[in-house]
Amino acid sequence: MKIRESFPERAENPISGTIVKYLFFLCVLISLLTTAGILYSLLSQAIGFFFEVPLIDFLTGTRWAPILKPQAYGVLPLVCGTLLVAAIAAVVALPVGLATAIFLSEYAPDKIRRILKPLLEILAGVPTVVYGYFALTFVTPQLQKLVPDMLVFNALSAGLVMGIMIIPMVSSLSEDAMLAVPRSLRYAAYALGSTRLEVSLKVVVPAALSGIIASFIIAVSRAIGETMLVTLAAGATPRMTFNVFDSIQTMTAYIVQLSLGEAPHGSLEYNTIFAVGLLLFVMTLIMNVIGHLVVRRWREVY
């Protein structure tokens, strides 16, 4: 047998090699350029707005009334509404999502896991508009039985349902992180007399912490950016409140409201959506930076 002799010449063609390299790079560029484009369009149109409304007034003002006279451009009520809904969602989704992940990765026999995982994926795939109507037409009426003077549009229903909506995101990313923890660490802990719960909470969760925190951050960023659900269920009343039974307005819901309205292009009212959009962009960016820092600080490398 002369195997080596029947190989063809394999000198790499320098031209095709280069083309392939640039083709891959081009794909990278698509997302980079899109991000840059978004940032540019937000910035360029927000600048006009900030010439007329000082940045400091925008960021610290507590009244948001860009259309009704007397106009006011304090964004805090929108930020407050956004954070209120996201906080309610986080209170639901983080513990429930993490507990779900622990159950799937540490407790569930293979058979059960194989049934539950696709079910969770279905939950993740439901269109957000459906969640919005679910909040408005099912959850709110139920809650109103408990709290009769709760408004039809309110932060609580929207937040709770948003929490349910992002559970699969927390659970599936956390579970991936936990499954990646080597078995040998679990055995080490069992062999020292740990219970399953101790193995889960003292070994697996700490070892998977960076992935778990990343899942929290992605989920909360999603909650901050989510639009349809809050537009439908949380209301259109910019309000500085932490009362979860009140109607509020989130930043995203405001952008939808204004985009659908009659504000003429280029007008000050119209440009508010770029200012609000820019702030939303910066908030999610900050979340991600904090996430990276936390992950680096707490990571257990194995």
């Binding site: 026999p109 802990a189 069992y190 020292l192 700490p206 257990e300």
Partner: protein
């Protein structure tokens, strides 16, 4: 093999068989492990040494389709009896694994782990130091207890795993090829440690290395496997007897290297 009723025997098996699903991995093992001795389990790969070892601290419970039949007595009590809590048993029968598996935590936290889960109420610092001294690791790590255990060398990591097991003061320490992932010098350090530790503990060690069994073990059990009957115990006796004058021709063939 007739010392089943000897007061010194800590672990006794009778007609112990283990299945993985329908696969018979270990068949009808009868043996008694004596207190404060080192017992070595030797034999070719796949003969069920690790399986047998895991019967002693009920680690086989963690393998979903493993079924244990027959009896194991621990200090005369049925280890698989309904009143036995396997979690509690594992803190009294410790285990060291083939590949060093320290937690990705500090050196201190590794040793303190078992103390904490078992609700130790004494002074943590003192207990950790005691365990690290017992494992002959204290002098090397006393100035960096807060550093990650993963900064240690392989041999140090394995001694840390031994310290971690010792910290909860088990009666028995099970070791599954504890030196097979280590270089010769680290291996000698572990063997030296094993000889020290048998004053206080009963040790069962699986090894692939017959010289190692000869060097550290008081008793040696030779297991074999064949397709028809799964793994089984061929001969169990004083190490000197096994290595110089075995009664079974298959043992002799194995130790003289005529098959592996």
């Amino acid at each position: 093999m007739n010392n089943m009723t000897s007061p010194k025997s800590v672990l006794n098996t009778s007609q112990l068989s283990v299945y993985y699903g329908s696969f018979l991995a270990l068949k009808n093992v009868d043996m008694a492990i004596q207190a404060n001795e080192v017992t070595a389990l030797i034999g070719p790969s796949g003969c069920g040494k690790s399986t047998l070892l895991r019967c002693f601290n009920r680690m086989n419970d963690l393998i979903p389709d493993a079924v244990v039949e027959g009896k194991v007595l621990f200090n005369g009590k049925d280890l698989y009896g309904s009143e036995i809590n396997p979690t509690e048993i594992r803190s009294r029968i410790g285990m060291v694994f083939q590949k060093p598996n320290p937690f990705p935590k500090s050196i201190f936290d590794n040793v303190a782990f078992g103390l904490k889960v078992n609700g130790y109420t004494g002074k943590m610092d003192e207990a950790v130091e005691w365990a690290l001294r017992q494992a002959a690791l204290w002098d090397e790590v006393s100035d960096r207890l807060k550093k990650s255990a993963l900064t240690l060398s392989g041999g140090q990591q394995q001694r840390l795993c031994i310290a971690r097991a010792i910290a909860v003061q088990p009666e028995v320490i099970l070791m599954d090829e504890p030196a097979s992932a280590l270089d010769p010098i680290a291996t000698l350090a572990i063997e030296e440690l094993i000889r020290e530790l048998k004053q206080l503990y009963t040790i069962v060690i699986v090894t692939h290395n017959m010289q190692q069994a000869a060097r550290v073990a008081d008793k040696t059990a030779f297991l074999m496997v064949d397709d028809a009957r799964g793994g089984y115990l061929v001969e169990y006796d004083a190490t000197s007897k096994i290595f110089t004058n075995p009664s079974d021709s298959r043992t002799e063939a194995y130790i003289t290297g005529r098959f592996s």
